[in-house]
Symmetry: C2
Subunit: 333 residues, 2 copies
């Protein structure tokens, strides 16, 4: 990590400023607690949520610097949820390395996630904004975190074999995507707009943008295993192995011919090996035309997000937000 | 649950007001998420932390009503940590019922704890106090939560057989007790004093009281398996089964004769069944005189706590705080 936060802010590279702020908050410390939280945060991902938060602050006329502790916070929330999700899903790889529980065991991974959750609120508390505004940001993150947990539980009830009725589950899927992904994207954008001094209307507008971008992002994430390209460091077969009925799979079941429906039901029955499960789902999703429909659905969402960006004062930051909504559905990893 | 929060406050029964507020926040809801968080919070424990928080607010001249959302929050933090601790320790019983993971599985128990953690900050955000004060309470809980996690990790390094050097571990024990228990008691009292409008000196004074009471409470907790009386709904053998070198055990090792030291080392070697481990530790702790010394140590702590209560304006609330510091070391469950 080279440079400092304020240098990065001078060179107007928000990603670099966020990386520097994250590194400062999670130094490689001498004790095991520091090692655990450092390890969890050491390989930054795409930083979408903090980037959206900072851009939202600038889009309403605020500064990146005021928003930075909240940007650090939202990435902590995201990574904490990944650390706990990886335990739950039994995913041993994350960002190309062993996940925290694979490296340090389940007990320390649970505590590491908890520590990141607490520290996110400590970080928010450091925002140099009026206390009333900072409290509103605390509430945004607290409620988004609750939504995330609610989405996680809803998803697990979809997964349990008795509850899997793919034909009626498309709405559940959208509820889960809104709760598990949309809510935190939404909170990130609202937090940025609040810290940037945006009006209530602008806060809502950017919150809606965040919600739609988050759902589009989740839809695209669920398409990746069927696009055949690179991976995100997480095995393609993970969702299939966990018998998770994702967006394209649900479409294949609803829109496909009887053989596609049968393939989905066999795949989600839990009787097959992960690789066989994924192969059968690939057949159903591709051959039924569900893949193309799912891509259209994701792009429609992205366009909804873009439509929320009209009339914001900060043109350069708004362009960055638009680019994120486009990249969300135009990526192969 | 009978009555409402405001009725309970009128009848001046803080415990009843806290129970009513907790029940309102965690209604038995129709969906699984609501069921999980309701189950986790359904059997109130001693409510020490929220009672101390409310009493601290009143001790500096504030009202219970202003402090109540923070009292709800601190109990959420405590229970969230219990839910996750029970997974880590493999404790299948809590407050006389199956623990959350024993009842609903590890995945949902992880998410339940997370949901309670987020909701505690949502609850704090509802305090009807100046935003500057509420932000300070957020920071108190965030830092105490971090300390709790740090203590948890420190304790786990004490437990790992290679790291167990009982003779030199008394200081580590006190660090763990301060972080795992003292920090949250301290935060509860500081939060109450802040919300009650206390001066910086009063906030510190009550924080110190909370710290000492918390450490005394933890010391007494670790004595309970050797007092031979009732249990707290948690099996007496849990800490022994987890080979946790607690206060009286460490004293027996440091102060005892060679046979006591040998008994401790054999017990903590991990070679025995939990009941045999506990029996050997009981011999060492009782026969060496460590039990009596440990009880004196806990009582000394309690007296330190009492000494912090001088000069506070709210006499009745101060009396309640004094009673808690005394009960902390004068209980058999």
């Amino acid at each position: 990590m080279t440079g400092t936060v304020s240098e990065a802010l001078r060179t107007d590279d928000p990603a670099e400023a966020i990386r520097a702020a994250l590194a400062r908050r999670r130094p490689r410390s001498g004790d095991r607690f520091g090692e655990l939280t450092h390890y969890a945060m050491a390989v930054p991902g795409k930083l979408l949520r903090p980037l959206m938060l900072v851009a939202s602050a600038e889009a309403v006329g605020g500064t990146a610097e005021t928003a930075l502790p909240a940007a650090v916070a939202v990435e902590h929330l995201h990574v904490a949820s990944l650390v706990h999700d990886d335990i739950i899903d039994g995913d041993d790889l994350r960002r190309g390395r062993p996940s925290v529980h694979a490296r340090y065991g389940v007990a320390d991974a649970i505590v590491t996630g908890d520590a990141l959750l607490f520290d996110l609120f400590a970080s928010v508390a450091e925002c140099a904004a009026p206390p009333r505004v900072v409290m509103a940001v605390v509430a945004e993150f607290a409620h988004a975190g609750g939504d995330l947990c609610r989405g996680q539980v809803l998803e697990s009830t979809m997964v349990s074999p008795g509850a899997t009725r793919p034909g009626s589950a498309l709405e559940d899927y959208l509820d889960v995507a809104a709760a598990k992904t949309g809510a935190l994207f939404r909170a990130a954008c609202r937090a940025g707009a609040l810290l940037g001094g945006g009006s209530a209307g602008q806060v809502d507008q950017l919150g809606d943008y965040g919600h739609h971008t988050g759902v589009a992002f989740q839809m695209q994430d669920d398409l990746l295993p069927y696009l055949g390209a690179g991976t995100s460091g997480k095995p393609d077969a993970s969702d299939a192995a966990n018998l998770r009925p994702t967006w394209p799979v649900l479409l294949a079941h609803r829109e496909g011919r009887p053989e596609h429906r049968a393939a989905v039901e066999t795949a989600l029955s839990g009787a097959l090996e992960p690789e066989e499960t994924l192969e059968l789902l690939r057949f159903a999703v591709t051959d039924s035309g569900a893949l193309d429909e799912a891509r259209r659905g994701a792009r429609d969402r992205s366009r909804l997000a873009l439509a929320c960006l009209r009339g914001l004062p900060g043109a350069a930051a708004t362009d960055r937000l638009a680019a994120i909504a486009e990249i969300a559905v135009d990526r192969d990893r």
